[in-house]
Symmetry: C2
Subunit: 203 residues, 2 copies
DNA sequence: CGATTAAGTTAACACTGTTAAGGTAATAGA
DNA sequence: TCTATTACCTTAACAGTGTTAACTTAATCG
């Protein structure tokens, strides 16, 4: 009965899982729903993914790649470290707001989930942070930024961006504050906190 | 069979739910487990809480009060806006790290949950942000801080603190960076981004 | 005494992830 | 060509989840 497209069932499962994730969100993503959508039994999925974690990890991997592409593009678009950093911050936030479901499984899901995340994929996920760290490092080298540990600086930026994305996506930010206002203020404050004083530039 | 303590079953349910939440976390908190622990049937809980949401909302309410107490205490401990702000930032992060389960149901749980959160309790939760906003406002008034919309500033601080707490609690921050380093860097950067330049104070 | 109400129960529904066992068709070896 | 193996997929089941409907039992009230 099942309709064959190309590349086998594993591909079809992953495609359907992605579609279901983006359509109805992670909370509604179940093995049985995936199976029903593709006309197979739920247990068939276990022939290609040993459990739900593994399937979700494959989706997380996709999300990591998508985010990296966006960050990389932003990183390439400017030479100046400040502008690069600002562009990457905006790209990160935009990714989070544009792909809330991807963002949720990547960075919001329970600690237990992330603990089972394979070390190899974990390393790949860290490239995104290293992109931020390189901009911080360059800014320090060019003496635009106050000296600091670049990895700490990158994680600091990350926490700020992550907070903005998650609180906006979960609609916990006061609705009287426009998202754009918060986003641009966040970017401004991030740069302000790194730039050497005095800050006369308008970024 | 059920053992009566005092104040009726509703109190016992809430106490047991809280204990279960802090012991095994939200993911393992179920109506049936609560019921089993107190020696009642699961459906008895529905005589006092119309659904799980309502029960969790009661716990969220407790968490909001606990956090407010900590923030209020930090707010009282200093007169200078910078020191007050710093103290509150540290208090917020410490609360998040010390009560990860409370923090999760308060600020991490799915958007759907928060949508069903009653408006009355929502208003109470906002007092915590207003405490931050007042410190920002005072800093601006005393001309220590750069002028800005205080509510925007408070939300900006909140996003930074929230990011630190959630990424630390979910163990997503690079383990080579000590939590203390990240926390103090975050507080320093928050103040740096608000203080008028030049910044000669050591905070 | 009879009726009402309060408090708690059991059984069931519709879900969830996951495992064990079974079936069926194609393929490989003799 | 016959048999055995393997690949692929299924049904049935287990142990959970939140929640509802219907039932019992005891207390209270007129």
């Amino acid at each position: 009965m099942p309709s064959e497209t190309a590349g086998g069932l594993q591909r079809i499962i992953l495609d359907t899982a992605r579609q279901l994730l983006t359509d109805v969100g992670y909370a509604q993503l179940s093995m049985r729903k995936i199976a029903q959508k593709i006309g197979y039994s739920a247990t068939s999925i276990y022939l290609y993914y040993s459990n739900k974690d593994e399937l979700v990890h494959a989706l997380i991997d996709e999300g990591v790649d998508l985010l990296y592409a966006d960050l990389h593009e932003a990183n390439r678009s400017h030479a100046d470290p400040s502008l690069r950093l600002r562009a990457m911050c905006l790209a990160y936030i935009q990714f989070g707001l544009n792909h809330p479901e991807y963002y949720e499984i990547m960075y919001v899901l329970h600690p237990e989930y992330i603990k089972r995340y394979p070390a190899e994929k974990y390393r790949k996920a860290r490239r995104n942070l290293e992109l931020l760290a390189s901009a911080v490092e360059d800014g320090i080298q060019m003496e635009h930024f106050e000296a600091c540990e670049a990895t700490v600086g990158a994680n600091l930026i990350w926490t700020q961006l992550h907070g903005v994305v998650t609180l906006l996506n979960s609609e916990r930010v006061d609705k009287r504050i426009p998202a754009e206002t918060l986003i641009h203020s966040a970017c401004k404050h991030i740069l302000r906190s790194f730039l050497k004083t005095p800050q006369h530039k308008e970024v």
